[in-house]
């Protein structure tokens, strides 16, 4: 996960949750937050959410949909965002596979 978003520190995990949340279609801030909490299993504050969201947008990994005058602006995953998400999830899968393999092969 860290290799896909180098130097993002504590914003890396919320960013990954946002990318996952947007992977099945555009969502606005509150929907992303609720989804991220459901996927991540813990409360995500609005400050944390928008710190990560601003980073993702500035890096071109997500993009806002055209303004329709509503206060709830939806975001979508860009092609770069989808590639970054794929890379991060593959890293995580490799990490999980390695850990599980070693556990299965461990004596006792």
């Amino acid at each position: 996960m860290g290799s896909a978003l180098p130097g993002w520190g504590r914003h890396a995990e919320p960013s990954l949750l946002i990318l996952i949340s947007l992977s099945d279609g555009p969502k606005h801030g509150y929907a992303i937050m609720s989804d991220a909490e459901a996927v991540g299993g813990r409360r995500v504050g609005a400050g944390t959410l928008y710190a990560a969201l601003a980073r993702l947008e500035s890096q071109g990994l997500i993009a806002p949909l055209p303004d329709d005058g509503s206060r709830r602006r939806p975001y979508r995953l860009t092609a770069e965002g989808a590639a970054s998400l794929t890379s991060q999830l593959e890293n995580l899968r490799h990490l999980a596979d390695t850990g599980l393999d070693r556990l299965e092969g461990a004596p006792g």
């Binding site: 801030g29 710190a51 601003a54």
Partner: protein
Amino acid sequence: MSRLVSLYPAPWRARYEDEFLAVLESRPLTLRDRLDVVAGALDARWHPQVHGPERIPDRIGYLSLAGFALFWAGIGVAATGPIRFDEYGSYRDGGTAVPFLLASVVLLSIGLARIVARLPSTARLTAVAGILAMIAGPVWAVAPWHFPVAMVFIVGLGCLAVGARSAGIMSTGAVVVLGLGVVVPLGLMSASLVVPWYALRTAEVSAVVLIAPLSLVWLVIARTLLHGSERTPVVSSV
């Protein structure tokens, strides 16, 4: 809630404020949520992801910084001046500091003139207040015992700061710091006249407690000028 959001930098608010408020309003905020917003605001200031329009720094701000240095040089000279004796006893002669203080206030006035020049044409009263402060400042430096001149300088400076804030030239923080720089010395000076607070009447304590905050004025003006103004978009004609 909007007070919390005001902690974010202006470019960030211009981009995200509406939707961010919509998210904040969508559920009751816990103390942890509020702290999270404060942390987000600090993050947005330390690691800005949203940048405002390009700004052009006004190099005249360096003159205000030079004025700050001259101001403190003057205080140093005054505090180490020779001891004189007269029929009333002894006193420290700070007369040699006057050129330093005068030069520092003149440099400050040049900075104030630049801020006045950036005011919109509708802010006439603010401009007049600024011009009065520009004139009263150097006069006060030469004749510091003239309290009315000091008041014209201080009130003019305050009006200019508030007007410049309204015109978007000065930040709220800058106005607050400038206000503290003026109000703290004035308040303590007034208190020392009423309350028998003799410690404040000694030259050394006065220099530090009364005059040190005043030097913030030079820093605020320098910061305002060096922070610059937004670059006006240039439309090329083909």
